[in-house]
Symmetry: C2
Subunit: 249 residues, 2 copies
């Protein structure tokens, strides 16, 4: 394996160079030697900031990167940090009334339940409705630990929690409910799935319609909304440029 | 410098371990040895995904990380990727009419013009109104190259481009206009700054009011909005969990 040995040597030299620079500051940073091969770091920031839209699969050069991100700990740390942020916000915004109408909405797939084993097996390939349905029917999605904790925190904080998913109600209703129960999501107020009337509609359209109904017809005050897709929230056409230097309210 | 030598040695060993693992995939990934010291990777994802809210300064353990991110190339790559995404979207959405009423809105600070030299000098400390005003008055903010290019692309695409900034009109109007011109932003349709009536209002309130006026009173169709702060867009209370595996429309 001479190429690997060579690559190791080069990376080692670059590592030492970077460490010399890093010695001026924290034990940071660690960008990959040679910049950002495949543009995977940039691509992931675009995904999370809602700039990358309508992508169909992880770009081929980034499959290894996403595998490592999801499986080696950084995803778990990121989702844990998100749960902490959300719990802190919820704690600062206690229910406005004693009427039990303060509610949070949580998405299901890859918010409460993880589909990582399925996507790993598919090598993060494009959406495959039949295969995904077969996977979801098994009801074995692991709960995402940080989100199980957040769910319990919200319930303990006297909020209603509605689980809202684009999964088809008729085909996947029973297995989804069983999967949620097995994964630690007990005591949610309602599991709202895509009924026949919404089949074929985009996630944005379906979820926006449900939230409107909850708020306007049923009178709930939706205090927060947790999801892994920007379509869980709204459909605004906005573009966010990176800036980790300051926050403008 | 024995500690540095020791640290180098440990990092080298971890690097070789990581390379053994990485050999199964791409030349990726490179998370820092020991996980995510200071939680800086998680923190930056939270910033870009609009989960971290109301922070006042870069967390102390992350100052070195932000310095390196901003100064060593990854920020430039990320903002370039954002510009490419935006230009591709704008090209797919040609002006709807021949009436010259299709418009884009661009923020100024750290979208068109960079304040990086100022924040580096302040070690990314908290907002300091007097010092920032003194810096802005000098009119020497560099243009952000990818955004100069995007601005020209939008203008060439027959869009109106409104530059919208929370900077105070009376104090900073002349120097901001001169700075924009010097940085390559020539031919924008209007520079809209914070007038006395909006002093003390949040950026969300001010910018939303201006966009409403442009759309409802003046009849512009706002086709896109580019900024570095989520307050450039709206004030929705949403929380995004990371997911680089798939995109749901």
């Amino acid at each position: 394996m001479v190429p690997l040995g060579l690559r190791r040597l080069m990376l080692l030299l670059v590592t030492l160079l970077v460490l010399d620079k890093a010695a001026i500051g924290a034990p940071w940073p660690f960008w990959p030697p040679g910049g950002d091969p495949g543009g995977c770091l940039s691509w992931r920031v675009m995904v999370e900031a809602n700039n990358a839209k309508y992508w169909r699969a992880v770009p081929a050069p980034c499959v290894g990167y996403v595998w490592a991100y999801m499986g080696w700990g950084q995803y778990g740390r990121d989702v844990g940090t998100a749960a902490d942020e959300i719990a802190a916000y919820a704690a600062s915004q206690a229910p406005a009334g004693e009427d039990g109408m303060d509610a949070w909405v949580m998405d299901v797939d890859d918010t409460c339940l993880s589909n990582l084993p399925y996507y790993q097996a598919k090598q993060f390939g494009p959406y495959d409705p039949a295969a995904f349905k077969a996977w979801a029917s098994r009801g074995v999605c692991p709960g995402i630990p940080a989100m199980v904790g957040l769910f319990r925190t919200l319930k303990a904080g006297e909020f209603r929690v509605f689980l809202l998913t684009g999964r088809d109600e008729e085909a996947l209703g029973a297995c989804t409910a069983a999967n949620l129960a097995a994964a630690g999501f007990a005591g949610y107020d309602r599991l709202i799935m895509r009924s026949a009337a919404y089949r074929g509609q985009s996630s944005v359209a379906f979820k926006s319609a449900v939230r409107r109904r909850l708020a306007e017809e049923e009178g709930y005050r939706i205090r927060g909304n947790v999801g892994d897709q920007w379509s869980d929230f709204a459909g605004d056409r906005v573009f966010k440029v990176p800036n980790p230097m300051y926050f403008v309210p």
